[in-house]
């Protein structure tokens, strides 16, 4: 079973937010009105934001730093622990997924996640007349299960799933062609579109996959490692 992981090289990332919007277009996250956005309710699963600039030092040394933050898909996810109904669960490939038919909207997971990667549908997602033509038709559905880019109803929590529908499509394609599925056939939308080629994706269990090799780099670090969540998104320091 592959253990999916992503490496983001902050030296090559130019904070262009391409990942943010590729994720939105791939997963049908809705646009919110300006007043909602002012409240902080915009839905960007892969958010990009500036980190706190250091206070001291002359102007010339004041360096702004930016961070692009998908879901960490932690090994011990604090969100899966607290979910009372198992709406969010960790599948055997290490992906922390969300089942939109089961979620009761109690938002315990959104509060438990230290990275703040979870978003809540405060209103029914709506696209102004005509704009819903570009919604991604893919679906991951089954009995009592609704995942993937299906448009979520109001009142449920949603999060980055490393584009779970792309994994299913890659698997279906491999099956259709009668061969077994290779981990490098599947890449989330943000990895594919990264303008600075800063994002790598692959199977952490495979010792010579790109992500495993990059994970050994001495520039590698993980966000909030002290929180004991063992995130599977590994960042590489700038410089």
């Amino acid at each position: 079973m592959p253990r999916w992981s992503m490496v983001i090289d902050l030296d090559k990332c130019v904070a262009c937010q391409g990942c943010s919007i590729a994720c939105r277009m791939e997963n049908n996250t809705p646009i919110v009105s300006p007043s909602e956005a002012a409240l902080g309710r915009s839905m960007l699963w892969n958010d990009v934001f500036p980190l706190r600039a250091e206070e001291e030092g002359a102007i010339a040394s004041a360096k702004a730093r930016f961070l692009t933050r998908p879901c960490m898909h932690c090994e011990d996810p604090p969100c899966v622990k607290v979910c009372p109904v198992g709406a969010t669960y960790q599948d055997d490939e290490g992906l922390v997924r969300q089942n939109y038919t089961r979620c009761i909207g109690c938002r315990f997971c959104t509060v438990a996640c230290p990275y703040g990667v979870r978003y809540f549908n405060w209103y029914e997602p709506a696209w102004e007349d005509g704009l819903d033509q570009h919604l991604n038709p893919d679906r991951v559905e089954g009995r009592g299960v609704l995942e993937g880019p299906a448009v979520r109803p109001k009142g449920v929590v949603e999060k980055c799933t490393f584009c779970i529908h792309r994994l299913h499509k890659a698997r279906a394609r491999a099956e259709a062609e009668g061969r077994d599925f290779r981990p490098d056939e599947y890449v989330p939308a943000c990895v594919q579109t990264c303008t600075g080629k800063a994002r790598f994706f692959g199977d952490l269990d495979d010792a010579n996959s790109t992500v495993s090799l990059l994970a050994q780099s001495r520039r590698a670090f993980r966000l909030l490692n002290e929180a004991g969540t063992h995130p599977k998104v590994i960042y590489l320091h700038e410089g």
Partner: protein, 449 residues
């Protein structure tokens, strides 16, 4: 042959039973007003259901707000009843007898609104049954669900059992009440005969349940606090959050009991059965709790301040000098400074001051829950510039909160109109006499003519 039951005689029986005779016009106005408020709350909730949770002020990262504060506050209120009757019963403090039912009534009528707050806060309330069909016991919310429902039905039974003799009394004494009311008494009395053996067994069951309920009080509110304690958010993830919430609950519960008793005493002229001494004993209790609460606050904030961990301090400054400065200091003054002064200097023998202090305490405790829950969410652990939340509750949340309080008052008012609020059978002896220990009382009771 209609069952006739045997009742211990009680000098105040007439006074206690008078409120049940007629429903005055004031009552009707009061109930109409409270029903109106509840209707308003209903309208706000339907609006939230149809439009979505967006009508509330909650956002990202402040996902929990007024509703969860209500939940914790009402569960906190619910601890007054059980604490007073159960633990004081175990301690054999006879002075608690007249106020047990009033206290337990607070529990009974605030608990359902605590549970209702959780349902109101849910994004998909119609999927509540998922918690049963797909429950995961690893989630603190499930501990919470179990504990609170167990506590709800236990306190209902405890309340109902201690009410049983009095229902039978009403059944037999109040013959000129409307037929349906009398029919209700007959059904609810379950054929209570008032036989000494029944009283004996009732006493033993109530003593047993008191022990269980005392234990349950501790678990329920600790479990409620663990909903926050189990996450790793700064400001929540502390070992002290359990005792802190427990003491807060009992503290605000006892204050609520004082308020309830004062109102009942005034409205139903129960001066004899609710003597002034009662309030003085409660005053001593409240002083202990106020100091206890201060102890908790100091130990929590000193530890955080001294430790000086960045994300903890971020939340710390948010409370002390940040967006929540007013709420935090208002809470500290309302819950600690003013009540303590009132209790020490003015509290003795003056119910008016006691009630003002209690009201302040309860308002302060609501703020205290708010100040524990929301600031932590505005400063998420991953310290970054942008997701610094702000939270402005909207009218929907305010109206639903007011309607819940109105609901509690309504239940309380209606209950006092149909059932004696002071337990007749427990206060059967002449008031003020030194009360013999439980065993001797039973023998004397059995011999009576």
């Amino acid at each position: 042959m209609k069952a006739r039951s045997v009742h211990p005689d009680n000098k105040h029986e007439a006074i206690i039973l008078t409120p049940l005779q007629d429903i005055t016009t004031i009552d009707r106005w009061l109930w109409a007003l409270l029903l109106g408020l509840i209707g308003l709350g209903g309208y706000a909730y339907v609006r939230q259901l149809t439009l979505g949770m967006g009508v509330t002020g909650m956002n990202r990262p402040v996902y929990w707000g007024v509703y969860i504060t209500n939940f914790v506050f009402f569960i906190g209120l619910a601890h007054s009843g059980t604490f007073i009757s159960a633990i004081l019963r175990l301690a054999g403090a006879e002075w608690r007898k007249p106020l047990t039912r009033a206290a337990e009534a607070i529990t009974l009528f605030s608990l359902p609104f605590g549970v209702a707050s959780i349902v109101v806060d849910m994004g998909r309330p119609e999927r509540l049954l998922n918690v049963i069909s797909h429950g995961r016991f690893q989630s603190p919310l499930l501990w919470d669900f179990t504990a609170v429902s167990l506590y709800l039905c236990s306190s209902v039974v405890f309340f109902y059992l201690s009410l049983l003799p009095d229902i039978a009394l009403c059944r037999d004494r109040l013959t000129d009440v409307p037929a349906w009311q009398h029919r209700m008494y007959e059904i609810l009395a379950l054929g209570w005969q008032g036989r000494p053996e029944q009283f004996h067994r009732l006493e033993r069951v109530l003593d047993g349940m008191a022990i269980f309920l005392a234990m349950l009080v501790v678990t329920v509110h600790t479990v409620v606090s663990w909903v926050f304690g189990m996450t790793i958010q700064p400001g929540w993830h502390t070992a002290l959050i359990g005792p802190f919430f427990l003491l807060g609950a009992i503290f605000s519960g006892t204050a609520a009991v004082v308020i309830a008793l004062a109102i009942l005493r005034r409205v139903y002229h129960l001066e004899e059965s609710l003597p002034l001494g009662l309030f003085n004993s409660l005053r001593k209790l409240l002083i202990v709790f106020t100091l206890g609460w201060l102890y908790m606050m100091v130990s929590e904030f000193l530890t955080i301040f001294y430790g000086n961990i960045p994300e903890e301090m971020e939340v710390f400054w948010q409370k002390f000098t940040g967006d929540f400065t007013w709420l935090f200091w208002a809470m500290t003054i309302l819950v600690f400074v003013v009540p303590l002064l009132i209790f020490i200097f003015r509290g003795k023998d003056s119910i008016g001051w006691m009630v003002t202090a209690s009201v302040l305490i309860n308002v302060g405790m609501w703020l205290e829950r708010f100040v524990v829950i929301v600031p932590t969410e505005t400063r998420p652990r991953l310290l970054y510039e942008l997701v610094q939340g702000t939270y402005r509750p909207t009218w929907v949340e305010a109206v639903i909160t007011v309607s819940m309080f109105a609901g509690m008052f309504l239940l309380y008012a209606v209950f006092t109109r149909f059932f004696p609020i002071v337990p007749v059978w427990e206060t059967a002896e002449e008031p003020g006499a030194e009360v013999p220990p439980v065993t001797r009382r039973r023998r004397r009771f059995g011999v009576r003519r």
